[in-house]
Symmetry: none
DNA sequence: CATTGCACGTGTACCG
DNA sequence: CGGTACACGTGCAATG
């Protein structure tokens, strides 16, 4: 009776939304109140194993095992209180939202027929949200740990966009370099012979190192050779002579062609 | 008066939520009803130009210019109807949701003080959602047109995850191939490496190439030297002797220590 | 009809 | 206290 209080449970209030309540994880069985278990919100997108497949239906929606049920218990509690204590103007406007069946035209009649549709809508929406969060978790899992540090949906999409941009750029650059390399290799093979460069004559580049650490000297030589090789234009290495001795190491490189070597 | 109907406009209902109404784009001025303009939901993530920057604050929230205002007009209409016709039990539970100020404890008193806070909360939430949709649009913009075809948030995150996976895989594969190419660019090479592992002490590693391209030979030698240098454990290079001739090039490397060289 | 998807406003938790 | 972020239930549009 008394249809005031905007009536959160305008129906019998006993077994009104039994399916809804069960959907909240508040089954009537289990007298013990499920244990609080606050669990923190969402647990920071717990990065589940890659799980390349099988995220279809099986282990889905298990993350929300004992999670936000505190909300739900509170909701149920509020609803029950609003029903029990006749007074108490607790204006809880949109908790499970009465709105008997989205029939704004007229209020009476047609009371118990469609009730299950609403419940299924709720469940569908919840599942949709859960799936989306799952997708977020998956996406967050395979982002570099540096980016998307805040672990929020917004940050995740931003970081994903940036990461995709970076990956595409890297991929294109790598592909270009690969193609260039391939092309150069094919081109070089045909371009034999022209070792006789015009103005430049042969000369010898000498590199010496006093350190006794052969490894470091090797590193230096590798760097010099890389530099030399990087100057692809009209430069030919004709000989390399290296000696590692106790007091140091030296390296003579014979080259032909004009070049300008600036060892920083 | 009459605090029943859960009171969507429990206050004076004249200039109750003037800021809220203006936020809905329903300013009192403009007698013409703003024109319907359904506009479709979200316009399928209209892929705005890349806009690498400047999506900070300027042109933001302009996408919702004349968009869902139909909803809002309906909302306002419903609220006005609920206020005018005193009866009419139109249970509109959560439209702008009365809940005078989230003060569930007691209903009377403290009526007009905090009203703006709720409005700012609404605006903040709306802006957050809008930002997230913006991120979705950005992310969707740089996905391959084939994937994420359905243009839904869920599909977008899924497609983004798949795309990232594919990009990473492609990148690694490309990098590996690049390295392999660099290593084996001229597959004509006869890399005869002295892969004498065992407990050997001093020995000579011989590398020969038949190509006349000195640059490629240099690259190969650089790589060999890098490999050698990378084996820091108990390995010493004692001498390097290289000769570049017309018919090819060879390189002898004297090493000491046990090692295991596997030139793939 | 039923289903999918989205935006909305709200309540709550966490952080300065 | 205000700020941010999330999940929630709901209404509405569009698609079968």
């Amino acid at each position: 009776m008394d249809p005031f209080y905007f009536g959160p449970d305008q129906l019998d209030a006993a077994a009104v939304d039994e399916d809804y309540l069960t959907s909240l994880g508040l089954v009537v069985l289990s007298p013990e109140p499920v244990a609080p278990l606050p669990g923190g919100a969402f647990e920071a997108y717990q990065r589940r194993a890659p799980a390349l497949l099988e995220h279809s239906l099986q282990t889905m929606s298990r993350r929300y095992s004992g999670e936000h049920n505190m909300h739900r218990r509170m909701f149920s509690y509020l609803r029950r209180v609003a029903h029990d204590a006749g007074a108490a103007v607790v204006a809880a406007p949109a908790f499970p939202a009465p709105a008997r069946e989205s029939v704004p035209g007229f209020g009476v009649g047609t009371s118990q027929a469609p009730r299950s549709s609403r419940f299924r809508n709720i469940m569908r929406e919840r599942l949709r949200r859960e799936r989306l969060s799952q997708g977020f978790a998956d996406l967050h899992a395979l982002l570099p740990h540096g980016a998307s540090s805040k672990g929020g949906k917004n940050d995740i999409v931003g970081a994903a966009a940036g990461y995709v941009r970076e990956l595409v750029a890297r991929k294109e650059q790598l592909s270009a370099r690969n193609q260039e390399l391939l092309e150069k290799a094919a081109s070089r093979w045909k371009q034999q012979g022209g070792t006789r460069s015009g103005v430049g004559r042969g000369m010898v580049v000498k590199v010496q190192a006093e350190s006794q650490d052969h490894s470091m000297a090797l590193g230096a030589f590798v760097r010099v050779l890389q530099r030399l090789k990087a100057m692809e234009a009209g430069l030919q290495v004709t000989a390399i002579r290296t000696r590692f001795s106790a007091g140091g190491v030296w390296m003579n490189i014979g080259v032909e062609g004009q070049f300008l070597l600036s060892l920083t």
